[in-house]
């Protein structure tokens, strides 16, 4: 019973997911759409409840397989907030699904549960199970518009590459278990110094990195991202961009710092190279993109590179910077996808020039998207600036010991400058298009009240993390401290 209490937040999310499925049976078809609001309210309540949890010391359950510490709690709140916003976006999108609206909401909740389990995973078994829970739900979510070939194509691509990466992951876990004789991160950390030189263990860990690299879209496992981002229904893309990526990072951080802390220094060169290549690939491929969702796909690859920069520092400051950056990324990316979801249905096609005149049709939508782009570009006073500042600072703090980090910082700077080009291209398309649009063709876009509030929340979040970073910096430091005491 005590074990179940420790995973109370996850259990509550699962119950909410099942409740949505059940309620669906008694809800008239016209009302099904609004189940999303009910789900969002439930997630919001759980998010509030999470702030009531006080942890004098980390709690463990199921024989240490599941831990609840400040690090896990930080990510639990992160995922809950992300899911809340994604659910509101989903309601806006719901009328484009033929059937199964309630299932869409329920699947989001199940994916959320998977992410929260991942945040607490302290064992390769739970790592695999939670990752599969996330991935399998996303197979369905990405192909939910099943009459649209693009959506199906996205689903199939995600399925094939996801299954392949899961196979790598399982294989890696098997090798680790075979060498170290344990699945638990804690016990592996105790056993690791003795067996770390074993080739098999290292291969196993490398294969786990491949599996996680797929989730966070790191080069060379990024190939699915642009296609899936473009084809999947927008709410699914949004959740994929924020939740799934963050889940990959949670697990990567846990494995690197809890399971095999001795491995970090050996891998630091590898992580630096991966980060540099990912940043460059993301920003360079984003330049010629015309489709907005595809652009976001490449942007998410570039951002995975920036986050990996923080991981590659292998320091507490670096981890704390990663957490902060993810926090800003949540508001920024979800704000952008909320706008994409609403604005692009009123335009023909998803091309960036189709945004022309958006600021006349809905100033709030245009302002949100503009701010999201500015924040992604890393310009003050928004969240992206402070996040990038923390990342670069953490890298330079330890660059004395690992000179390759200087090269990585230089690459990151070049990446930021290149990224300005395409982020500002989006703003330009909205505010001063190449071909002026005629006033008559621009009916104003009506926004529902929950969506309006979500957009304002995203704007407030971007400003909050950019202008008053103190509180979140402290939270991130606290979380990083549990991982790297």
């Amino acid at each position: 019973m005590n074990d179940l209490l420790v995973m109370g937040l996850e259990a509550a999310v699962l119950v909410a997911g099942l409740a949505v499925l059940l309620l669906d049976l008694w809800t008239p078809p016209a009302e099904k759409r609004n189940l999303g609001y009910a789900a969002a309210i439930a997630v919001g309540a759980i998010l509030l409840a999470s702030f009531a949890i006080v942890l004098p010391r980390p709690l463990a359950a199921f024989g240490g397989m599941f831990v609840l510490d400040e690090f896990a709690l930080f990510f639990d709140r992160f995922f809950l907030l992300a899911a809340l916003l994604v659910l509101v976006i989903s309601v806006e999108f719901a009328d484009r699904f033929e059937t199964g609206v309630a299932e869409f909401y329920a699947l989001i909740l199940f994916a959320l549960a998977g992410m929260m389990f991942a945040a607490s995973a302290n064992d390769f078994t739970l790592l695999f199970v939670s990752l599969e829970l996330i991935t399998v739900t996303f197979y369905v979510l990405t192909s939910f518009q099943r009459r649209q070939t693009q959506s199906l194509e996205a689903g199939v691509k995600y399925l094939i590459l996801g299954a392949l990466s899961s196979a790598f992951l399982v294989y890696g876990i098997a090798l680790i278990y075979g060498t170290a004789g344990t699945m638990s991160f804690t016990r592996l950390a105790e056993a690791a110094p003795a067996v770390l030189d074993s080739r098999l263990l290292q291969t196993g860990l490398l294969l786990v990195l491949v599996g996680l690299g797929f989730k966070i879209a790191v080069v060379p496992f990024q190939i699915w991202a642009p296609d899936v981002y473009q084809g999947a229904p927008t709410p699914a893309t949004a959740f994929l961009a924020v939740g799934s990526k963050a889940a990959g990072f949670v697990l990567l951080l846990r494995v690197l710092f809890t399971a095999v802390p001795a491995l970090g220094p050996r891998w630091s060169r590898l992580l630096i190279v991966l980060s540099a290549v990912t940043i460059l690939y993301g920003v360079l491929c984003a330049i010629p993109q015309r489709n907005l969702k595809r652009l976001m796909g490449y942007s998410s690859i570039a951002n995975a590179g920036f986050l990996l920069l923080g991981v590659a520092t292998l320091s507490r400051d670096g981890v704390s910077a990663v957490l902060y950056y993810l926090g800003g990324y949540l508001f920024t990316v979800l704000g952008a996808f909320a706008v994409i979801c609403v604005a692009l249905r009123h335009t023909e096609g998803e091309d960036i020039p189709a945004l022309a005149g958006l600021h006349q049709r809905s100033p709030l939508l245009a302002a949100t998207l503009a701010m999201a782009m500015v924040s992604l570009a890393g310009v003050p006073p928004l969240a992206g600036f402070f996040g990038k500042f923390l990342l670069l600072k953490s890298a330079l703090m330890v660059a004395g010991d690992q000179p390759a980090l200087y090269v990585l910082v230089a690459v990151a700077v070049v990446g930021v400058v290149i990224s300005l080009y395409y982020y500002f291209g989006v703003i330009r398309a909205m505010y001063w298009p190449a071909e002026p649009v005629e006033q008559g063709h621009l009916p104003p876009i009506q926004l529902s009240r929950p969506l309006r509030w979500s957009l304002l929340l995203c704007i407030a979040g971007m400003l909050w993390l950019g202008v008053l970073p103190g509180m979140v910096v402290n939270l991130a430091n606290l979380a990083a401290q549990t991982l790297l005491p």
């Binding site: 500015v374 310009v379 003050p380 006073p381 600036f385 500042f389 670069l392 600072k393 330079l396 703090m397 660059a399 004395g400 910082v409 230089a410 700077v413 930021v416 400058v417 300005l420 080009y421 500002f424 703003i427 330009r428 505010y431 001063w432 970073p469 103190g470 910096v473 402290n474 430091n477």
Partner: protein, 505 residues
């Protein structure tokens, strides 16, 4: 709330107010912008004249912790280095708001961005915290790009916007890397500039680190100030920019890089400075001579002013590179003087552009007859640009040349040529082509600045130039103690200073 916080937050409050005002109240946007920049200007004037000259300590100091975990604080204050810059920035901002009547489209967004830029500029110059110093500069920079992109003019504006964005962002990021590296190397774990300076004075940064951090700052800041050969964005960008933006950027925001060199790079990295400043002294010749020669060939008035503005930056670089008290003091005087001059020149050319619809000098001529007020001011601005005594530029430039004579004699000879001959050639040629000669038929309808309100910004800026030109002690007395601290931090040995501690009176 202290006076400095007030003068920084005023424009931001105005920006919020404008954001909340409905779009149809076009007059109100203008009024809010004028009122808030005027309040900032009034506060800055008070700070400038209440500033106690001769004191070395920071005055009007304010401190409030902001991110405790990282020891970043809201730390404001003025000393000799920045008190005149804050005053000049507020004056130019008010003048720019006055000159914004030419903007007719999307006034709400324009005034909002103008106020954000103003607040950012004032914040960057008044901050004594490394983080906010950079933060405010970036905050001011981005509106510049947007304003040029949206309200800019000419066919080249997209190219100019992107060029300027990429150059300046790259420069700013290189400087950011330099600043963070400096913070890491100092090992003090605080972003507070005075505290950092004290720590570094007690425990200098390792020489090997200084040798690579200083060039990062020098070139990062240098790109922001259009150091040759990274200057090509400047004339193009100013040519395409709307008048108020060009005034604020060329006049004030650009000085951020120079101020950063004086405030941070020199005192914190003395050994790096010793090694790299001779390079700067050579590069400044590129500004002075090359850009001056380029300015001679310009056919467009705005490009001419833009190139001459790049050329003038050479004096400041030379003054900094001289590492003498007279030279560094002169550099700060040139920064202030050039800020007023560049703003005045761009304001006047903006007026001409508005009246004529073109700035091609070949099409102009005889305009002095039609524009007695604007024409006279343009001539005076050009004289100031040649370095005529009576204008603040003369005071600064002559000090720079005196100060640099000891270390960089050849450079000074060439720089004097650039200032006296090359500068005079293009400035006087511009006066001749634009103001004298026969008046083409098509300009018979051109009208002078109609009423006092339109004349006010020009008059204010010119008054500043003349005031500091006739009474340079207003500036030098304030700058001298801070400049001495900088020079002493770099040169270290008092013996080397003996010859340079007295200013020519």
């Amino acid at each position: 709330m202290g006076l400095l916080s007030f003068l920084i937050l005023c424009p931001f409050a105005g920006a919020v107010l404008i954001a909340l005002t409905p779009r149809s109240f076009n007059v109100l946007f203008r009024l809010i912008a004028l009122l808030t920049t005027f309040l900032s200007f009034a506060a800055a004037t008070w700070v400038f004249f209440a500033f106690h000259p001769g004191a070395t300590h920071v005055q009007f100091e304010e401190f409030c912790p902001w991110v405790g975990a990282l020891r970043i604080g809201w730390h404001l204050g003025v000393d000799g280095l920045n008190v005149a810059l804050v005053f000049m920035a507020a004056l130019v901002a008010f003048a720019a708001a006055c000159c914004s009547w030419e903007i007719k489209e999307r006034q709400k967004e324009f005034y909002l961005l103008l106020l954000v830029m103003t607040g950012g500029i004032l914040g960057a110059f008044a901050s004594l915290d490394l983080f906010f110093f950079y933060f405010f500069h970036e905050l001011a920079l981005v509106p510049t790009f947007i304003m040029i992109g949206v309200w800019g003019r000419g066919e080249n504006r997209n190219y100019a916007t992107f060029k300027m964005t990429i150059y300046l962002s790259l420069g700013a990021l290189i400087a950011l890397i330099g600043l963070i590296a400096l913070y890491v190397a100092a090992g003090a774990r605080t972003f507070d500039i005075p505290e950092l300076t004290r720590d570094v004075a007690a425990r200098p940064i390792a020489a090997s680190a200084q040798h690579w951090i200083f060039p990062l700052l020098m070139f990062g800041f240098g790109i922001l100030v259009s150091l040759w050969p990274f200057h090509t964005w400047a004339p193009l960008g100013y040519g395409a920019a709307p008048t108020p933006t060009a005034m604020l950027h060329a006049g004030v925001l650009k000085k951020f890089g120079l101020y950063g060199l004086l405030r941070i790079a020199l005192p914190l990295l003395p050994e790096g400075a010793q090694r790299w400043l001779p390079v700067l002294a050579l590069l400044c010749l590129g500004n002075l001579l090359y850009c001056g020669l380029v300015a001679i060939r310009q056919k467009n008035l705005n490009l001419l002013i833009g190139n001459s503005s790049v050329a003038h930056m050479g004096f400041v670089f030379l003054g900094i590179a001289s590492l003498s008290l007279v030279g560094v003091t002169g550099a700060v005087v040139v920064m202030v003087a050039h800020g007023l001059l560049a703003a005045l020149a761009f304001a006047l050319s903006g007026y001409l552009q508005n009246q004529l619809g073109t700035l091609e000098m070949e099409q102009m001529g005889g305009l002095l007859r039609k524009l007695p007020f604007v024409g006279t001011l343009l001539a005076l601005a050009m004289f100031a640009g040649c370095g005529l005594p009576g204008f603040a530029n003369f005071a600064g430039e002559v000090m720079v040349l005196f100060g640099a004579w000891g270390g960089h004699t050849t450079v000074v000879v060439l720089a004097a040529w650039a200032a006296l001959i090359v500068g005079a050639v293009y400035m006087l040629r511009a006066i001749r082509t634009v103001l004298h000669g026969p008046l083409p038929e098509k300009w018979s309808g051109v009208a002078d600045a109609p009423h006092a309100w339109r004349k006010l910004p020009f008059a204010l800026l010119l008054a500043g130039l003349l005031l500091f030109g006739c009474v340079p002690r207003l500036l030098t007395d304030r700058i001298q103690p801070a400049a001495l601290t900088v020079v002493r931090a770099v040169n270290g040995t008092p013996a080397a200073l003996m010859a340079t501690t007295q200013l020519p009176r």
